[in-house]
């Protein structure tokens, strides 16, 4: 599972931080500062995986596992969340892996927790590819993405990310698919924002059904029941709903 996706620039200023496990905001910023410190110290040409002893993922049950244990101590480990309390031996400790990529002025970082016994569900190179996919999707969504885009549209960056990763699991790796989904959702947002009336999903359905029949019969779209001020908007909005409902195809 991917624990977090971070974007920060060459000065350590965060541009995006998305955590898939609950972490308090102060812990987030300390972790980010730590990672930036480690990552920015690394000259170009080193590998994209960061194994930093001493870096501990916050949350969970704290860090008591990182110092104790005689034979096999690893500073990276932390007790697994799924470990029963009464079980004294910390055998399923997790290891934090940082996988990052540097693009011009930005660092893209993905964090992954490894169970010590079984290696993580995602492979290192896989996540590296995923970062590439993320950047390319951003590029397609924003048309030549630059740092300013990320600064001023952080919500949209999160939405692009939401098309790639959901709840820490990889949703989609196909860039075309991702950008299609993103543009669909963006159009929806636009339509919703530009219409004056509230769009209730329930009433939408009936209107959609009506208009769909109309379209199929070759008649003009737009049922009379919807009290939208401009007819143009009606057509526009209705057409998008239909697409959304799968009737347009």
């Amino acid at each position: 599972m991917i624990q977090a996706v971070l974007i920060f620039n060459n000065h350590g200023k965060p541009r995006l931080s998305k955590f898939y496990t609950p972490v308090t905001s102060s812990e987030q910023s300390t972790l980010l500062a730590q990672i930036f410190q480690l990552v920015s110290d690394r000259p170009a040409g080193l590998c994209n995986f960061l194994d930093a002893p001493g870096l501990v993922f916050p949350g969970g049950k704290g860090q008591q596992g990182s110092t104790k244990g005689k034979g096999k101590v690893n500073a990276l480990r932390r007790p697994s969340e799924y470990q029963p309390d009464e079980d004294g031996e910390n055998e399923e400790d997790d290891e934090l892996r940082v996988i990052y990529r540097h693009y011009a002025t930005l660092y893209f970082v993905a964090l992954r927790l490894d169970s010590f016994v079984v290696d993580g569900g995602e492979s290192e190179l896989g996540i590296l590819d995923l970062i590439q996919v993320f950047v390319e999707s951003l590029d397609r969504s924003f048309e030549n993405v630059c740092e300013l885009d990320l600064i001023f549209h952080f919500d949209e960056v999160i939405l692009v990310l939401a098309e790639i990763i959901q709840g820490g699991l990889v949703l989609e790796t196909n860039i075309t698919e991702i950008s299609t989904r993103f543009h669909e959702a963006a159009a929806q947002r636009k339509a919703s924002a530009s219409s004056v009336k509230e769009i209730l999903p329930s009433s939408l359905a009936s209107i959609a059904a009506d208009t769909a029949n109309g379209i199929r019969r070759g008649g003009p779209p737009g049922g009379g029941r919807l009290g939208v001020s401009t007819g143009d908007n009606v057509r526009n909005v209705a057409g998008r709903w239909l697409q959304g409902l799968g009737f347009g195809a």
Partner: protein, 973 residues
Amino acid sequence: MWERTLQDLIRGLRAHKTSSQAELDAFLAEAVDEIRQELRGRDMDLKAEGVVKMCYLMMLYPLPPPPSFAFHVVEVMSSPRYHLKQLGYLAAPMAFSTDTEEVVLTVNGIRKDLLAPHAHLPPVALAGLADIVTPSLARDVYADVSVLLTHSRAHVRKRAVLAMFKIFEQYPEALRTGFTRLRDRLEDDDPGTQFRFRPFYLFFKSHFNVVLVDPGVVSATVNVITELSRKSNPRNYLPLAPQLFELLTTSSNNWMLIKIIKLVRVVYPFFASDRDVNTCSSCIPVWSFNTTRATSGPQVATTDNQPHFYDSRHLSLSEAGDALARVCVEKLSGFLSDEDQNLKYIALLAMVKIVPSHPHLISEYQDEILESLDDQDMSIRMRALELTSNMVNRRNIREIVSRLLKDLALTTTTAETLPSAADFLAKTAASETIAPGPTVASALPKQHLTPAYRVELVRRILSMTSADTYVNITDFEWYMTVLVDLAYVSNVDVGEEIKDRILDVTARVRGNFRPFVVSLMLRLLKDETFVESAHQEGNCSEILYAASWVVGEYCHLSKESKKAMIEALLNPILYQINNEISVVTLTAAVKVFAYFTAEAAEDWDLELYNDAKSLVANLMQTLSKCTSSPEVELQERAVNFLQLFRLLKADLSSSKPPTRHARTQDSYKAEPAFENAFAEESSSLEKQNDDIDQPNYPKSLFLLRPLFTGYEINSIGYKAQESVKLPDDLDLDATLVDWKPDDNLDLDFPGDMDDEAESEMGQGGGANLEELRRVLKESGAKGKPSKGKRLNDDGTVETKEQRAARKAARKAKQKDNPYYLNDEQDDVDAIPIVKLELDDNDAVVPTDGKVKRKKAKKPRDPSPPPPEIDRTGEMPEGSEPMPKAKHTPAAKKSKKGHDGLKGIEFGVDNRSADTSDAQRPQTHFEEYREDEVDDPSPKADVVALATSEVQVVRVKKKKKKATADGSKKKTEV
């Protein structure tokens, strides 16, 4: 009111880029204040804008969210407008934490959105849900999400599959019922993506018999199942094997292939042994297929091959796996010398996985791996370190350890300890170690090692050397010098661990080793620079603890001068580091002195007399300083010893100094090793003119030694306590005193009550107690209507004689009862004394067993192997040989806690195997056999195998069939 959009806020923040922190803080405070206003307002658009702005600020600065922020987010989430709703779901994960009560408010809204006919809403809700799901929310929305698993749009199905994982995680019970729906998604035909690949699809199908699809839903399902298999019982996923193997051969999606192979890896140990061959044979063609594709480019090559490499260690059971591992390692070693750092990293990572099963394959590339320890990249060094610590054996341990030590030693350039460290290394190099000379240090460029890496390095060294109770160490003297070197060069706080190792090894290894350790430790204690800097951070002061203890405990084995030892131990700096060390050092000094006096008594002369006097004075000085220590342990010991030393001092000064002078003081000092010879000589001399009956030394010289020579200290076996045998005649359940309340002894004594009541309740205690007594007396009187009269069994009132007889009988009984204090019996001497025969029951007392055991072991000792090490530790007599604590992964898995996902098992077999019938949770699900479902897999043989072994629970909300064992069920079907 002037409203600020997100863009305005960001612009404002950017305008403050150069301003001071105070100005920025003021701006932030103003912004947060505005947001608070907006959140409170009625305008939903403004509210949403405020929510987004707050999220942005929270992302950038560690700001606490304003009060009831979560509530406003819920409001925005429940807005009927798409764009606002989306913002609400976006903000939800930031606003809610696990203990936010507002999550409850979202349940209905989320459920409505999930089932909304508006096709764009469910994805939004699912995406948000995955981040905020809590156990109760999971329970509530589970049914709705499982409906979405069969939604008409692939995109929604895909999201639902992934959301399902989160729900299972929070609400494990859902796994029982939801898994069948989930596995149906493995056969999902995702028309959208297949259509896009139509031309390729046909081309590949006709030419390579490969179906090239990109089924997002299947891939997501595989992803979820892989994660589930890691977090819950992998046995549950065995029935999926045929489907997965089919996907493995037909799919071209790298992501999915990696996932499937990871899944196979997790599930693999649970395959029955006769299926190994089958699995391997089905994997190998896939693997070779991938390698042929791999030639297209290095990036693809690794993406494809890496999981297979991971997999190989599990395939190693059969011959095919062996061959596979060889190919893997060859390929990986190629990556090691690749200039692409990523490949190098991956190769090291993969080798770590292969090492446990094929150490010989890896050790062929030892040089390359050791080379990557020098890599400038920390990540690669870490992996190389992990790998090297896994590949040590008896032969290469010296090389590897000295290699790692060199890394540590080279980088202590900045620290002031370097000169002493280098000195020490040079010194030890002369004795045993292959330590690097200082010349090497200048040759190599300086590397900057972070303290965390140093800690890691030291811990790796310690763990690789002490693995399996020092199985890799052949020369313990070398090992001890390594430990001391580590203390010198580590420069981080690892003293505690080094200390433990030193004490452990010294206790375990016998023979000539202990004198060596004593002299080594003595040298350490005498090293002024080390001792003086010990209190600084990262200087391993704890090692002084070990040094003091070892010197104190084993000083009699060493030939070094005891006087020098005591002087080293009395170094006042040692008493300034910390109390623990002070306690041990003080005790050690007294111990050494005890041996010193006892030895001195054998050839008592003027010089020794003077030495003893000055030592006593020194010791008493240190002791009296310690008596005012705030640490109780130290204080108590110091006071105890001080009293003994007063005695000793008095005795010494009262006895007259010996007149004979065998040697001059100079010659004695010049030859410390001569002491023993000197002792012999002088004792023989003494024998010759032994004309006096009285010994010429004060008797108190032997005062101290018996305090410390009770037992030899050995390491105790890991399971010694458990294996103390219960003596046959010890019955822990038996009642100690057979006391039965009978007629004469019931607690209700109406007759006695009158005369004894006063004394029973005591006297004094103030007005309150008097009041209490009064109340008690009254209530007691009320409770007994026939006060003072006791009825006999036949109903007649008992006579005075009867009462007296009863009283006497009771007294007599009380006399022997240990629970009664007897006033009359004041004669202590009359109490019978039972003599405890310690020799009789040595099985009960483990310490006795220790003594006996030592004697019994003597005959075994004459032919000890060179490193005489006690690996198992001491065990009590009569215990069975210890079973090797070896866990199979399967056993460990089933033993693990049964909470969360781990507790969920679909299979009947394993449930009846590891939980008894009574313990089985009362489910009302009917079980069904695999072959009830029509399996689409063409691989008939695999299916047959699967069905013969594995059953899956299917959900039918009906009564539960009693299933005692698997065989019964088979006949049912």
